[in-house]
C-alpha cells in the first residue's frame, strides 16, 4: 500500500470514543419504561394507550415546531429521542382515561415552554414533563384528579372514543387516588385510622386507581434497577430520594398513625417510584456531582413528604422535583468534587509532614 498517498484528517485527541450517544441513553430509558407502560395498558385498556400516543405525538410536534422556528435541524434533533421520552414520562403521570386535549396541551407545553424556550436540550432549568404536569394540574384540576378503577378494558375503538370524549366514562368507574382520598378525609376530619382508603392494603397486581406509573410501581422499580445496571443512572439520586421520603414518613407514622400515613404507602403511591428513578434522575435538571446528587435526592424526598403531609395538594413528587430543579444551579455552584492535589477550598494541599 502506498503510504505517500495517504491524506489524513487531523483532530484533537482522544481518537477513541465510548460507544455512547444521547439517543442511546434515551432509548435505554424508554426500554426501561416499556414493561410498566405495557402492563398499565393491560390494566387500563386502550384509552390509556391512546392518551400515551397522543401525548408523545404532541410533545414531538411542539419540539419540531420550535426547532423549525429557531432554524435548527429538525430531523437530527428529533431523532435524539428526548422529546419522545418527555412525552412518555408525562403520559405515564396522567390519569389514564384523561381526555385527548389534556395530552395535547401537556405535550405541547412540555417541549415548547418547558424545554425549547430555554434553548432546547441541555438548557432547560425544569424537568419538562413535570412542569407540564403541574401546569395541567393547576389549570385543569377536575380532569387531572379524575382517576378510573382498572376494570373492564374497552375495545381499541371504544377506547379511542373515550379519549376523544365521544363516550362518557361511567361514574361508578371513577375514584380519587389513594393520596387524594386520604387528603380529603383528613380535611373532613376523618383520621387515617377510620377511613377506608382505596387500595390501602397494597395490591401486588397493581389493580388500584392511579396513573400508569403509579399502579405498576413494581415494574417501574424494576425499570429503575435496569437503568442502574445499564449505568444510565447512578444510585445517588433514587436511593437518597426514597430515603428522604421514607425516613420522615416512618418517624411521623410512629409518632401519630392517625395523622401520618405509613412508609410503604408513601413509597408505593403517587409518583414516588417513577419520580425517584425516572424523573429526578433527569440529567439536565439534576446536579452533576455525586455529593450534589445526594443533596438533591434527599431534598426531593423530603419535600415530597412535606407537600403530601402539609400541602394543599395530595401529591407532591412533581412539585418537589421542580423545587429542587430550581436549586440545581446553586447546588452545582456550591458543591463541587475536590480537585486532586487541592483542598476542598481549592488551595494546593500543604506539604507539611509529607517529606520523608
Amino acid at each position: 500500500m502506498n503510504t505517500q498517498a495517504i491524506s489524513l484528517q487531523t483532530m484533537a485527541s482522544p481518537h477513541a470514543r465510548a460507544a455512547n450517544s444521547v439517543s442511546v441513553v434515551m432509548l435505554k430509558v424508554m426500554a426501561a419504561l416499556v414493561p410498566a407502560t405495557a402492563y398499565a395498558f393491560y390494566l387500563f385498556g386502550s384509552p390509556a394507550f391512546w392518551l400515551w400516543a397522543i401525548t408523545i405525538a404532541a410533545s414531538m410536534a411542539g419540539e419540531a415546531a420550535c426547532l423549525r422556528l429557531a432554524g435548527k435541524p429538525v430531523k437530527a434533533v428529533l431523532y435524539d429521542g428526548s422529546a419522545i421520552l418527555t412525552g412518555w414520562l408525562l403520559a405515564v403521570s396522567l390519569p389514564p382515561w384523561a381526555p385527548w386535549w389534556i395530552g395535547v396541551v401537556g405535550g405541547l407545553f412540555a417541549t415548547t415552554l418547558g424545554k425549547q424556550a430555554f434553548g432546547g436540550i441541555g438548557n432547560n432549568l425544569f424537568n419538562p414533563a413535570m412542569i407540564a404536569r403541574i401546569m395541567l394540574l393547576v389549570s385543569f384540576p377536575v380532569q387531572m384528579t379524575h382517576w378510573v378503577v382498572p376494570a373492564g378494558a374497552p375495545s381499541l375503538f371504544d377506547g379511542l372514543r373515550i379519549t376523544l370524549g365521544q363516550m362518557p366514562v361511567p361514574d361508578a368507574m371513577t375514584s380519587a387516588s389513594l393520596l387524594g382520598w386520604a387528603k380529603t378525609d383528613m380535611a373532613r376530619g376523618i383520621d387515617l385510622l377510620h377511613t377506608h382508603l382505596p387500595g390501602h392494603v397494597f395490591d401486588w397486581n397493581g389493580a388500584r386507581v392511579g396513573s400508569l406509573g403509579e399502579t405498576s410501581v413494581w415494574l417501574i422499580a424494576l425499570g429503575g434497577v435496569a437503568l442502574l445496571y445499564m449505568r444510565v443512572i447512578s444510585w445517588h439520586i433514587p436511593v437518597t430520594m426514597l430515603i428522604g421520603l421514607a425516613v420522615p414518613a416512618a418517624l411521623g407514622h410512629a409518632a401519630d398513625p392517625a395523622r401520618f400515613m405509613d412508609m410503604s404507602t408513601h413509597l408505593l403511591s403517587g409518583g414516588a417510584m417513577l419520580g425517584a428513578f425516572f424523573i429526578a434522575t433527569d440529567y439536565v435538571t439534576s446536579p452533576s456531582s455525586r455529593a450534589g446528587q445526594i443533596i438533591f435526592g434527599l431534598g426531593c424526598g423530603l419535600l415530597t413528604w412535606v407537600i403530601r403531609t402539609y400541602g394543599g395538594y395530595p401529591e407532591g413528587v412533581a412539585f418537589a422535583v421542580l423545587l429542587m430543579n430550581a436549586l440545581t444551579p446553586a447546588i452545582d455552584r456550591l458543591i463541587k468534587p475536590r480537585v486532586y492535589g487541592r483542598t476542598m477550598g481549592g488551595k494546593p494541599i500543604s506539604l507539611k509532614g509529607e517529606t520523608k
Binding site: M1, Q9, A12, S13, A18, V22, S234, D332, P348, K356
Partner: protein, 501 residues
C-alpha cells in the same frame, strides 16, 4: 462513591471494554531492518534543542554523538546506525499542525558500524554524579511520553531527598504494549536500571506499578526482582489513566501530589520502565539512546506488534515494515487517548514515541458534537476531580478566568471526559484551546506591564532631565551672576589698587 470505587478503590477514569492491546502485545518482539533514510530531530525532549556537531557529507557511526545538549535541561542526540549525513534542515514534526522542525537526515550505508562504548563493570562503584553524567551523555529522556531529560530529573530527586522511586509500568493507553514488551522480554534490564537509578537518586526503595491486564509482564518482573527486597512489584487495577504519574502515585502510596508541584516534593520520583531499561544500557554498556520499542498497531495494520526500531525512522517505513491491509483513516503517534494525529506518514519517530497507530474509519467514529445534556459522565470520569462540563461551558462563554479558577490548569488532557461524552463534545480540544488562550493572555499582560514600566521609566527620565536642565540653567545663572559679581569686584578693586599704588 460508586460500587467500583468500593471494590477497587479507584473511582476515576475509564475502562475501554476492548483495550486492543492483544494480539499485538503477544507477538514476539521484531527487530526492524535499517531503513535507507533516518531523520533524527534535534528537539525530542522537554527543554532546549540539541546543537548539531556534524556537517553535511560527514560519515557517522552507530552511537556517535551528532548533536550536543544545550543548557541545563536538554539532551544530546546520537546516530542510530552508520551512514552519511545527507542534510541538516527541517522536516515535518510529529504534530497535527504539520509544522517543520530541525533534524539531521542520515542516508544509511547498511554496514551498521559502531563506535566503541565505554562499559562499566560495577555501576554501584560510581558516584551518583557520575551516573547522572552517563545518563545525560546517553541522551536519555522520559520514554513514557513526557520526554523530560532523565539526568536533571535524577538530580532533582537527589536535591529533594527522594526516598521512593515509583516505576511506571502502567501503560494504560489502549493499543500500546511497548512497555509491556520490554517488561516481558527485558525484565532483568529494567530491574537493573531501577537499581542504578535508586543509587543515583539515593532512594531506599522502589515500587513498580503494573496494570493487572499484563500478567505476563508482572510474572517476568517478579522473577527478575526476586533477589532485590527493596524493589516491590505492585499490580494495579487496569484503569485509564493509571499511567499518569499523579494517579499512579495516589494508587501506590495513597498520597496526592499538591497541585502545581512535582512528585519529588513529596519524596517520590516517577520513571517509566522503558527509561529504566535505557538507563541500564547507558550506565552499564555505555550505549546511548538511539533505538526503542515502538508498538505498531491499529485496524489498518497487517501484522501488528512491537518493533525495535531506530529513533528517527519515518512512520511510512515503520508502516511498510508492519504492512498495511487497508487505508488508514487516521495515523496517530502515541495512544488513542493522548496521542497526536499525524498530518501524513513522512514524519520521523522520536524518543518519546511508544506507538504508531494506523486506525480505520470504524475505529475513530467521527460523530458531530451535540449539546451537553449534563449527564455528568465526564465528572465521574475525570481523574483530577474537575467538572469538565462546567469548564467547557465557561470557556464557550468566553469566561477564561472562571475556568482557570475552577482548576483548568490541573487538567491532564487525558481525554477521559471526551471519551465518555455521549454528546461527543470536543472537550480536550476546548481545554487545550483555553490553556493556550490563558497563557497568551498572561504573556500579553506581562508584556503590557513591561511596556508600562518602560513608559514610566521614560517619563521619569524625561522629568528628571527637564528638572536637571532647569537646575543646570539655574546653576549656570548663579555661576554667571557670581562671575559677574566677581568681575565687578575685580573691576572695582583694580582702580583702587591702582589708586592705592
Amino acid at each position: 462513591m460508586g460500587i467500583r470505587e468500593l471494590l477497587t478503590g479507584v473511582g476515576w477514569g475509564v475502562h475501554p471494554h476492548d483495550d486492543h492491546k492483544r494480539p499485538a502485545a503477544d507477538v514476539p518482539l521484531r527487530v526492524m531492518p535499517t531503513p535507507a533514510k533516518l531523520c533524527i530531530p534535534l528537539l525530542q525532549h522537554v527543554g532546549a534543542p540539541a546543537k548539531p556537531l556534524v556537517a553535511v557529507g560527514d560519515r557517522v557511526l552507530r552511537g556517535q554523538l551528532i548533536a550536543a545538549a544545550q543548557g541545563n535541561v536538554s539532551a544530546p542526540v546520537h546516530a542510530p546506525t552508520s551512514g552519511r549525513v545527507a542534510a541538516i534542515g527541517e522536516v515535518t514534526a510529529p504534530h497535527p499542525s504539520g509544522l517543520p522542525f530541525a533534524a539531521i537526515t542520515i542516508e544509511t550505508d547498511g554496514l551498521d558500524e559502531s563506535v566503541s562504548f565505554k562499559t562499566v563493570e560495577d555501576p554501584f562503584s560510581l558516584t551518583p554524579d557520575e551516573i547522572s553524567q552517563r545518563i545525560a551523555e546517553a541522551g536519555i529522556v522520559g520514554l513514557g511520553g513526557a520526554t523530560f531529560p532523565s539526568a536533571p530529573k535524577a538530580q532533582l530527586g537527589r536535591k529533594h531527598s527522594v526516598h521512593t522511586l515509583i516505576i511506571n509500568g502502567g501503560e494504560c493507553e489502549p493499543y500500546l504494549s511497548s512497555d509491556d514488551s520490554i517488561m516481558r522480554e527485558r525484565a532483568d534490564d529494567v530491574i537493573d536500571g531501577v537499581r542504578i537509578l535508586m543509587h543515583a537518586v539515593g532512594a531506599s526503595k522502589a515500587k513498580v506499578g503494573i496494570e493487572d491486564n499484563k500478567p505476563e509482564a508482572i510474572a517476568a518482573m517478579r522473577k527478575a526482582a526476586q533477589d532485590f527486597a527493596q524493589i516491590e512489584i505492585c499490580p494495579v487495577p487496569a484503569r485509564y489513566p493509571m499511567g499518569s504519574d499523579r494517579q499512579l502515585v495516589q494508587v501506590l502510596t495513597g498520597k496526592e501530589v499538591p497541585s502545581g508541584a512535582r512528585t519529588a516534593t513529596i519524596g517520590l520520583l516517577v520513571n517509566n520502565v522503558s527509561t529504566c531499561a535505557a538507563i541500564h544500557h547507558a550506565v552499564r554498556h555505555g550505549e546511548p539512546l538511539y533505538r526503542r520499542i515502538v508498538t505498531v498497531n491499529g485496524g489498518a495494520v497487517a501484522q501488528p506488534g512491537n518493533v525495535l526500531a531506530p529513533i528517527g525512522v519515518l512512520v511510512e517505513d515503520l508502516l511498510a515494515f508492519a504492512g498495511l491491509k487497508s487505508e488508514p483513516a487516521r495515523l496517530v503517534m502515541g495512544g488513542p487517548m493522548m496521542g497526536v494525529a499525524l498530518p501524513h506518514a513522512q514524519v520521523p519517530t522520536v524518543k518519546g514515541c511508544g506507538g504508531i497507530l494506523a486506525l480505520t474509519a470504524e475505529e475513530i467514529t467521527v460523530v458531530p458534537p451535540s449539546p451537553c445534556i449534563r449527564c455528568g459522565s465526564c465528572v465521574k470520569a475525570c481523574p483530577m476531580g474537575l467538572v469538565p462540563l462546567e469548564l467547557s461551558a465557561q470557556i464557550h462563554a468566553g469566561d477564561y478566568d472562571t475556568a482557570d479558577a475552577m482548576g483548568l490548569d490541573d487538567c491532564l488532557a487525558c481525554g477521559c471526559c471526551a471519551y465518555v461524552c455521549p454528546s461527543q463534545m470536543p472537550l480536550v480540544q476546548t481545554f487545550s484551546h483555553a490553556k493556550g488562550e490563558i497563557w497568551r493572555r498572561a504573556q500579553q499582560k506581562k508584556r503590557s506591564e513591561f511596556t508600562k514600566q518602560l513608559a514610566q521609566a521614560r517619563q521619569e527620565r524625561l522629568e528628571r532631565e527637564a528638572r536637571e536642565r532647569v537646575e543646570a540653567a539655574a546653576r549656570r545663572k548663579a555661576q554667571r551672576a557670581a562671575q559677574q559679581a566677581a568681575a565687578a569686584a575685580a573691576d572695582n578693586n583694580t582702580p583702587s589698587e591702582g589708586a592705592g599704588a
